[in-house]
Amino acid sequence: MKAKLAIVGLCVAALLACNKEKRKMKGLVGNWTIEQSERAIIYSDGSEDIYDDISDAGTVVISENPDDESGETNLFTFDYRGYGNDTMSIKGILSTDEKKRRLVFENALCDSGNYCNVIWTVDKSKKNKQVWSAYGVDSTFFYPSNKFNPGSADNWLMWRITLKRQR
């Protein structure tokens, strides 16, 4: 009897392991406040010069994608409100990779095609708090023209947002 239970237990564990990717994506669904938005210059000596620091900088809404039966993508609405005319209001499909280190706003910068995805690196991922960052070089975020040689720059741009789940 013990042997049978052991076999069943091991097989269930193996089957659940196959579905791990789908389950974890659901943790992002909900309404989030952009609690803090920081933009900084990173210098070669490792120091950061924060040139833009905003509290309560907008909202991010993430919901399940009814058109995706696999459950591998979600829908997002990203409303960023910076100083003056510095706003970013986009919505579309949110995807991630199997290591959950990267979040992709698909085709967020244009309708379709290349150089359109907004890619965030996930620095922290908790149930009620997320920290995402994006980078750039030569004064350009996401898709700078210098895209091959990281050794040629002497400073870089960083945009870090902290999200807090709304109650």
Binding site: A3, I7, V8, I42, I119, F148, G151, M158
Partner: protein, 283 residues
């Protein structure tokens, strides 16, 4: 990929059913036990594709590099496996019996490689390899069924991820699109492997060593044996390069010129040793 996992799930369910049915019978079997354990496997692969990238990258940026990527030797991806399965020993002769087993094993191994530029930026290339195996053995049990000599057949689904990131001087790691090579590149290889296994049983513990070699490549198709990052955001193709010169000088055509890294490089001889625990009363 989803299809491969679906097939593996079906095979797991069939395996469960078979094991439960077998467990329900017990006549001329001397031993009939489930087991669990782990082993370490030294795994060889062909490093030439990766080294072509490493040499090309280091050569291209040599004036900006403080330290380039190290070349690979082909033995970096040793894997630690956990395994569970079922074994029977049967036969009527006292000095010679037959033995067979079937099990599921999952193994994982990784390797990190770094390049550092003079301006403090680093490139981190982490290769992560995981293997899902369904194994079947058949052979003889000798020395009062304490020594088992067996042939070994394995269906092996290997997944290799190349995690390529930029680490800035402040320590932040980026998967972002600001540098084209940043990303998570995925390649798979499904093989049938054949090998030999020698085991020694002492009470409820089994010490074993095994060696195996891929004899058949089951998939994917030849043109899909690449490492691709579909979320990269840059222009196609987004395959991880092997020929870095082609990749830089002709980013739209390096794949058609066979300049991409192949997942078929990541198969080869593996050998290892491990320990199993047999459930139930010792015999």
């Amino acid at each position: 990929m989803a299809l491969i996992f679906a097939c593996m799930k079906i095979r797991l369910l069939l395996l469960c059913t078979t094991l439960l049915q077998t467990a329900a019978q017990a006549q001329f079997f001397e031993l009939k036990k489930t087991y669990t354990g782990s082993h370490y496997a030294f795994s060889r692969y062909d490093p030439s594709g990766l080294n072509r990238f490493v040499v090309g990258f280091n050569e291209t940026w040599k004036s900006d590099l403080k330290e380039g990527f190290a070349q690979y030797k082909g033995g970096e991806l040793g894997l630690t496996f956990t395994t569970s399965g079922f074994r029977v020993i049967f036969g009527n002769r006292e000095d010679f019996k037959w033995t067979a087993s079937t099990d599921y094993a999952f193994g994982f191994g990784k390797d990190k490689n770094r390049a550092e530029f003079n301006n403090g930026v680093e490139q981190l290339m982490e290769i992560r390899c995981s293997k899902n195996q369904i194994n079947t053995t058949f052979g003889v049990a000798l020395k009062e069924s304490k020594v088992w000599l067996e042939g070994y057949l394995s269906t092996n689904l290997a997944k290799v991820l190349i995690q390529y990131t930029t680490i800035y001087p402040n320590g932040n790691e980026s998967y972002g699109s600001e540098y084209k090579l940043n990303g998570l590149y995925r390649g798979t290889m499904k093989t049938t492997e054949f090998g030999l296994q020698v085991s020694y049983k002492r009470k409820k513990y089994v010490f074993y060593t095994r060696a195996m070699y891929p004899i058949i490549v089951l998939g994917p198709n030849k043109e899909e044996r690449n490492f691709v990052d579909k979320q990269n955001g840059h222009e196609d193709p987004t395959d991880f390069p092997s020929n870095y010169g082609y990749y830089l000088n002709n980013p739209s055509a390096y794949v058609s010129e066979n300049g991409q890294l192949k997942s078929s490089d990541f198969k080869g001889l593996s050998f290892g040793f491990g320990l199993l625990y047999l459930f139930g009363k010792a015999k």
